[in-house]
């Protein structure tokens, strides 16, 4: 029955749709009476439903109940007429038949995020609301005259006038990246270990932040998980631990903040380690071995790797250098400390940006040691880059095509350094290498809550109520390999082209 979804959607939005339709569409006449009739019929219903939940099945049934059979019939007829008119219009606009498109296109716009604005409120907005509808419906409003797909969509949107109650505040390009973050332990599965519960929250609010810190914290938490684990009777540790115990922990952590690439590498390694445990090994021994293996892994891949990188990179710092760095990386900090403690005298420029201001911590730590530090925000970059002799950058991950995946803003610093002909040096442990490639920052990224970007009390405080405003707060960006001159890893200093080689040797053979 085609009318199952349309009445529910019609309830709130029809009056708004009517206005633009009357202006722009030739077949608007066929629609308007229907809309008017609908809205009047559904007024009570939408009032009762003003809590703003997306139109669900319950609503639909309640709305259809309120109509008498005669009204229903009339409505169906009108709808059919409207659809037919649109099909004709669509055909005129040289397009494929629109009718079959109706049902799939109609509901697709329904599940918009719900909240705040109620249906009755929007109705009061009148003209403004209609614009909202145009926007959220994608390219509906403007692409009217475009042939083909656009016009189909128009037909669909107008025939089954499905309009969300609330403007979609996600940014179109990055819509695939939005995840609801878990911010409490209330919904966590009961399998999740308390240590992991705490860790998830700490990661979510950036108390534990940074690719390496998160990796270390995760493996430490997994150690407690393994220690607390007892194999249920009739199962073996090798088969049970990964799928039944480790997976819920990982899922929970991922729901708090997406798993970083280094964490992914470590998880893959740990699963392999578990699968290698002999079935006949006594449980206590197997657990001890696994915890021992985690310790060794952390020592090799993080602790000593950091030490080695710091040693190598500090060797590249000379007296009189001006080192620029962006945001905060633990290994960059370690490198600068080491060079300073070896008696090198150089200046550091910390470039930073909103909203995390991680660079402040680095600058403070360096100043406390008596180093010569200049702190500036990203918008002052061009001004300070002229005196720089080297740029040291931390990494979130190194992609196999030699590109650097790091805190958003890094790409600008690298580009500007390249423009000014300054060498860009990346400090990165091989645990952060991945076989994936990145061409842009869109396909793979992390979107942080947009509220982080809003200054409390600033002009954007109520941004969610502002029409046509979306805020995009992404965490990372991708720096092209051409901007990077050297990558310092624990297995040597290499150019970006050698990333896949080191990754093969480090993460896949081990």
């Amino acid at each position: 029955m085609p009318s199952t979804d349309s009445p529910s959607a019609v309830e709130t939005s029809q009056p708004e749709v009517a206005a633009p339709l009357a202006q722009t569409q030739p077949n608007g006449k066929g629609k308007q009476p229907e809309g008017a009739q609908q809205s009047s019929a559904n007024t009570e219903k939408s009032k009762s439903n003003s809590n703003g939940k997306p139109a669900g099945n319950a609503q639909e049934t309640s709305s259809t109940k309120k109509l008498t059979p005669a009204e229903l019939k009339k409505k169906a007829k009108e709808e059919k007429a409207a659809r037919r008119a649109q099909t004709v219009a669509a055909k005129e606009a040289e397009s494929a038949p629109a009718a079959p498109e109706l049902s799939p296109a109609g509901p697709s716009t329904v599940p918009q995020p719900a909240g705040g604005t109620s249906g009755s409120q929007q109705r009061g907005d009148g003209q403004k609301g209609s614009r909202t509808q145009q926007r959220t419906g994608g390219p509906v409003g403007n692409s009217r005259n475009l042939p083909f797909r656009g016009s189909q969509k128009v037909a669909a949107a107008t025939a089954a006038p499905v309009v969300p109650k609330k403007e979609d505040k996600t940014v179109e390009f990055f819509r695939h990246l939005y995840r609801q973050r878990t911010t409490s332990i209330a919904d966590a599965s009961k399998e999740v270990h308390p240590a992991v519960l705490a860790l998830g929250l700490q990661m979510g609010n950036y108390t534990i932040c940074g690719s390496c810190a998160r990796l270390v914290a995760m493996l430490q938490a997994f150690k407690s998980v393994i220690e607390a684990y007892t194999t249920p009777p009739g199962n073996s540790l090798t088969r049970h631990l990964t799928s039944h115990v480790l997976s819920p922990q990982i899922d929970y952590l991922a729901s708090c903040r997406p798993i970083s690439i280094s964490m992914g590498n470590a998880i893959r390694w740990l699963k392999l380690e578990i699968s290698k445990v002999d079935v006949d090994t006594p449980e206590a021994e197997a657990k001890k071995d696994l915890c021992g293996a985690i310790d060794v892994f952390l020592q090799e891949r993080v602790t000593y790797a950091d030490k080695l990188i710091a040693k190598k990179a500090a060797g590249k710092i000379k007296d009189g250098d001006v080192i620029m760095t962006y945001a905060k990386s633990s290994v960059v900090q370690r490198t600068l400390l080491r060079a300073f403690s070896k008696g090198k005298r150089f200046k550091v420029i910390v470039v930073d940006s909103r909203p995390l201001h991680e660079g402040k911590h680095l600058a403070a730590a360096l100043v406390n040691l008596g180093m010569d530090v200049q702190y500036c925000l990203l918008n002052g970059l061009v001004h300070v880059i002229q005196n720089v002799t080297k740029v040291l950058l931390g990494a979130h991950a190194m992609m196999s095509n030699g590109r650097l995946f790091a805190r958003v803003g890094t790409a600008i610093v690298a580009m500007e350094a390249n423009e000014a002909d300054k060498p860009v040096i990346v400090l990165c442990e091989t645990i952060k290498f991945t076989e994936r490639v990145a061409l842009d920052s869109i396909v793979h990224n992390e979107i942080a809550p947009a509220d982080e970007l809003v200054t409390p009390g600033g002009p954007l405080t109520n941004w969610e109520d502002m029409k046509k405003l979306q805020i995009c707060n992404m965490m990372y960006d991708v720096t092209p390999a051409e901007y990077l001159h050297m990558i310092v890893t624990e297995s040597g200093n290499v150019p970006p082209t050698a990333v896949p080689v080191l990754h093969r040797m480090g993460n896949e053979s081990g």
Binding site: T389, N493, V494, T497, V501
Partner: protein, 331 residues
């Protein structure tokens, strides 16, 4: 591994002086390159040492390499040789760990194999010439610079194609520098003897000549990890001019010159090789040419200017250097 390292390098080996040996080897054989000379010096050290254990030997080689590096101003090319030799020894010792009782045999094995390596390194030049000759086509004009023996061998090999009945006729533009003209002279004479027309120009004429040129082929003293080369002073500017004119810039080089060192720019090199090329003088000086402490001043050509490296294993892109080094040095 600095267990025995506190013993002064000289007393341990009596009368043997590695720096002197290195210089003697370089002077005795004009065909030998710096990394190979360093390796030969280390082989001689190994033949003379009275060290009895593996670790003693390794330590000796390490301290002596460091000593040699410290005493040669332009140490990057020879560093390629010493590191390669150390790595070679390490990989030799690995399988023979079980038979550690008979160290003398291991050492004899090393000495003979070390000599074999020197021999092989010399053969590499012929292989490069064979690979490189295919790059020179009929009617080409090749620009080259410096007294590189590899490039000389390559051009002669290409000339032989013509004499053997092929129809590759090419010309050479040779950038001649006054200070090094003797080395250039021998290469130029040998080319003319093979019937190759050679034009001699000075460094200021390179940009003017570049339009006529089809390719640039130069040699190198060392190839660093990012694929950039350390080469005779003046190479960098030729590379830049070649790129500006969109002409390919090839480097003919043996793989034993690949060195595990990362150089980012000219300034970066200064810390390894102190050349004192730019001197600010308040008063007039008779001879403004740099009084560089090393015989041949060098510069660094970044990898982005290099079209390909012609090695004895065939032509390589610059990215292959780091890959080869990673595999070579991961035991």
């Amino acid at each position: 591994m600095d267990s025995v390292g506190n013993v002064p390098p000289k007393t341990l080996t009596g009368t043997f002086d590695i720096v002197e040996t290195y210089h003697r080897i370089l002077e005795d054989d004009p065909e030998i390159t710096m990394p190979v000379a360093a390796i030969e010096a280390l082989v001689e050290l190994l033949a003379q040492t009275d060290a009895v254990t593996v670790y003693e030997t390794l330590d000796l080689i390490q301290t002596q390499s460091a000593f040699l590096k410290m005493n040669i101003p332009n140490s990057i090319p020879l560093q390629a040789g010493t590191e390669l030799f150390q790595q070679y020894i390490l990989s030799c010792l690995k399988p023979s760990k079980t038979s550690s009782g008979n160290f003398e045999a291991v050492r004899q094995h090393l000495v003979s194999n070390g000599r074999l390596f020197v021999h092989r390194a010399k053969n590499a030049r012929d292989m490069i010439a064979r690979h490189g000759q295919n790059y020179i086509r009929d009617g080409n004009i090749v620009l080259t610079h410096g007294g590189s023996r590899v490039v000389g061998a390559l051009l002669r090999k290409a000339a032989d194609v013509k004499r053997a009945g092929g129809n590759v006729r090419f010309k050479v533009i040779y950038v001649v520098k006054d200070q090094r003209s003797i080395e250039c002279r021998t290469v130029i004479d040998s080319l003319r003897a093979k019937g190759i027309p050679v034009a001699e120009i000075d460094e200021g004429t390179v940009a003017y000549a570049m339009r006529k040129v089809d390719m640039v082929i130069v040699g190198a003293e060392g190839v660093v990890e990012n694929g950039g080369i350390i080469s005779r002073l003046g190479t960098f500017q030729i590379a830049q001019l070649a790129m500006a004119a969109k002409k390919p810039f090839y480097v003919a080089v043996e793989t034993h010159k690949f060195v595990r060192e990362f150089i980012l720019s000219q300034d970066d090199m200064e810390s390894d090789i102190d050349q004192k090329i730019i001197r600010f003088e308040p008063d007039y000086v008779e001879d403004p040419t740099p009084k560089t402490p090393i015989r041949n001043a060098v510069d660094f050509t970044p990898p982005k200017y290099i079209a390909a490296l012609i090695t004895e294993n065939g032509p390589n892109v610059v990215a292959a250097v780091s890959e080869q080094l990673i595999f070579l040095y991961s035991v």
